[in-house]
């Protein structure tokens, strides 16, 4: 292991990414300390999802450097394997595996990637399902659960791999309003336990309550980065003010 225990959890330096002729990320620089919780917001198409998807290499960056726990991130198989053990991800549309039960969804990666014995993996999965408060649904299939329940399972599934960093890509955007809170509560619980989190969201209540820092992105650039109090009370940038005006009413 080349992990450096004193290195920041995540470092991005001059990261660039294009989709065709569209520039999704323009020379992005960001340091995330261990245990830090960052909320990323910005208008749609601003590059916030692309940014966190580059961290676990669901998208490959074209220039610049990304390091996770001091180790360089790239698309070599060994690099991919290492990065995905360290970084968990939760998607907007849950992406649970519909042909498997809730328990199987959670125990799959520990069994096949970490080679845990099945009983141990299932015990671990059950413990995490308890933590997200749905152990009684363990033997159902995802289609039988509500959106909020599915998203909590998705969080448990990611936690089963014991990641040190969690990425959330608009985790509450696909949910009915009454289910947003149950997912945010689980995320707040994670934050209390000191998990390093990068959260793309428009839930400014969550940002106020849990974030150490709020980042505003527009057109592939990080325009503003500040602790929540400062970010909401005294935004520096004109575009940040406009954006906040639009989403805070």
């Amino acid at each position: 292991m080349t992990d450096d225990n004193s290195a920041p959890a995540v470092t991005l330096s001059n990261v660039e990414k294009h989709f065709g002729s569209f520039q999704a990320l323009r020379s992005v620089n960001l340091d995330v300390a261990r245990g830090e919780r960052i909320v990323i917001c910005g208008p749609s198409g601003s590059g916030k999802s692309t940014l966190i998807r580059c961290i676990n290499q669901l998208e490959q960056h074209e220039a610049g450097e990304i390091r996770v726990n001091g180790r360089e991130v790239g698309s070599e198989p060994a690099q991919l394997e290492a990065i995905r053990r360290e970084v968990g991800m939760v998607f907007q549309s849950f992406n649970l595996f519909p042909h498997l039960t809730i328990l199987e969804n959670c125990a799959l990666a520990p069994i096949w990637v970490k080679k845990l014995p099945k009983a141990d993996a299932e015990a671990k999965a059950m413990a995490l399902l308890e933590r997200v408060r749905i152990p009684d649904q363990a033997h159902k299939r995802p289609g039988q659960l509500s959106g909020g329940q599915q998203q909590r399972v998705a969080i448990a599934r990611a936690l089963c791999m014991e990641p040190s960093i969690m990425l959330f890509d608009e985790p509450t955007s696909a949910l009915d309003p009454e289910m947003v809170k149950e997912v945010l509560d689980v995320m707040l619980g994670l934050a209390d336990d000191g998990m390093t989190m990068l959260v793309v969201t428009h839930e400014m209540g969550f940002a106020r309550q849990a974030a150490n820092r709020v980042i505003f992105m527009d057109q592939g650039e990080i325009l503003e980065s500040a602790p929540p109090d400062q970010f909401f009370a005294n935004p520096q940038h004109e575009r940040t003010k406009t954006f906040l005006g639009q989403i805070l009413h």
Partner: protein, 355 residues
């Protein structure tokens, strides 16, 4: 009665009579079909049962009967089922049929699906090969003399059994990011699909011997088997590719994000879902493949149909071909319908909310 029938049909199954006479259209349908049965059934029963010849199973029994000549099928069943396989050794193909059918029935239950099942099949097929061909303690029987049901079963089971995994690899290869692999898979699939099975069988049986030296030339049976296997792989792979395309991108991303390797992702997440999506189309293709095995008769192999034909050539009998083909039809029906029931169960299983 008329107004309630459509409502209550959904709520509980009506008694047979109420369903048959529930509305003017139902009455009409019932009357028409009752009429057809009234006129068609008695002569059919007379032909097939009351006037038919059964025992003793000799040509004279049929000459005195005006109905079906089942005596022929009874007397010749062993030749229809096993072709020109040597007379004293027919217990061997019989055992092979019992073995293959037994293994098929055993394999239908999901609880039997494990690595052990692959070994059971490898052992069973090896045993079948030995029983059919002989060697080590059994008299040699060249594959030219094999015939009938065991030929149909072996061709079907091996062509589809090997064709299915090959088809999965071809489907994945055709979606590969590597251009060379994608091109090779596409080329193979398109070439194979563009040729009629008949011409592939002819190439395998007539042109291959011209091109290859005799020492390395596989025998006729093996060549036909390879032709059927390649044909099945190409067709099945396109069905599976259709299923792969139906899987949303998020499933791939979620699998990658929890650290699954390419092979794990395909085996645990993508393929099970993709195959569930295309069960009806797979069933269709496989049933067609079962029946396609009868085409091997054009290259001189004795499958079930050609053995039946050969049995009919006996001049002592009055060639009761309808009875013989009905018998063969029944066997094909059992094979194809049996498979279709199995596929139906798989579909129900995929739909069931909990295993």
């Amino acid at each position: 009665m008329i107004s309630t029938s459509s409502l209550s049909r959904k709520m509980n199954p009506l008694p047979f009579l109420a369903r048959s006479f529930g509305s003017p259209i139902n009455i009409l349908i019932t009357v028409v079909f009752a009429g057809i049965l009234f006129f068609a059934l008695p002569p059919l029963v007379r032909w097939a049962i009351t006037d038919a010849a059964f025992f003793p199973a000799i040509p004279e029994t049929c000459k005195s009967a005006s109905g079906a000549c089942w005596s022929f099928v009874i007397a010749k069943h062993s030749q229809i089922l096993f072709g020109i396989y040597p007379d004293g050794e027919r217990w061997r193909p019989l055992l092979v049929c019992a073995l293959l059918i037994g293994m098929l029935i055993y394999s239908v239950r999901p609880s039997a699906w494990s690595k052990r099942l692959a070994w059971v099949w490898a052992g069973g097929l090896g045993l079948s090969w030995w029983l059919m061909g002989g060697g080590i303690g059994l008299a040699n029987v060249e594959s030219d003399l094999w015939g009938g049901l065991p030929v149909t079963l072996i061709l079907t089971v091996v062509a589809i059994g090997l064709g299915f995994p090959t088809a999965i690899l071809l489907a994945l290869a055709r979606r590969s990011k590597l251009p060379v692999i994608r091109l090779l898979a596409t080329l193979f699939i398109e070439m194979t699909r563009a040729l009629p099975l008949l011409s592939i069988l002819f190439i395998a049986s007539i042109m291959l011997p011209l091109m290859l030296p005799e020492e390395i030339l596989p025998d006729k049976f093996f060549r036909a088997l390879i032709a059927l296997y390649l044909f099945a792989s190409a067709y099945l792979s396109e069905v599976i590719r259709g299923g792969l395309q139906a899987i949303p991108k998020g499933q791939f991303e979620a699998g990658e994000a929890i650290g699954l390797s390419f092979a794990q992702l395909q085996a645990k997440i993508i393929l099970p879902q993709a195959i569930n999506v295309v069960i009806p189309a797979l069933t269709n293709t496989i049933i067609v493949m079962i029946k396609n095995t009868s085409l091997v008769l054009v290259v001189g192999l004795f499958d079930l149909i050609s053995s039946g034909k050969a049995a009919l050539a006996d001049p002592e009998w009055s060639s009761p071909s309808i009875e013989t083909y009905l018998f063969i039809t029944l066997i094909y029906f059992i094979l194809c319908f049996g498979f279709s029931r199995f596929a139906d169960r798989m579909e129900q299983r995929a739909k069931a909310p909990v295993k």
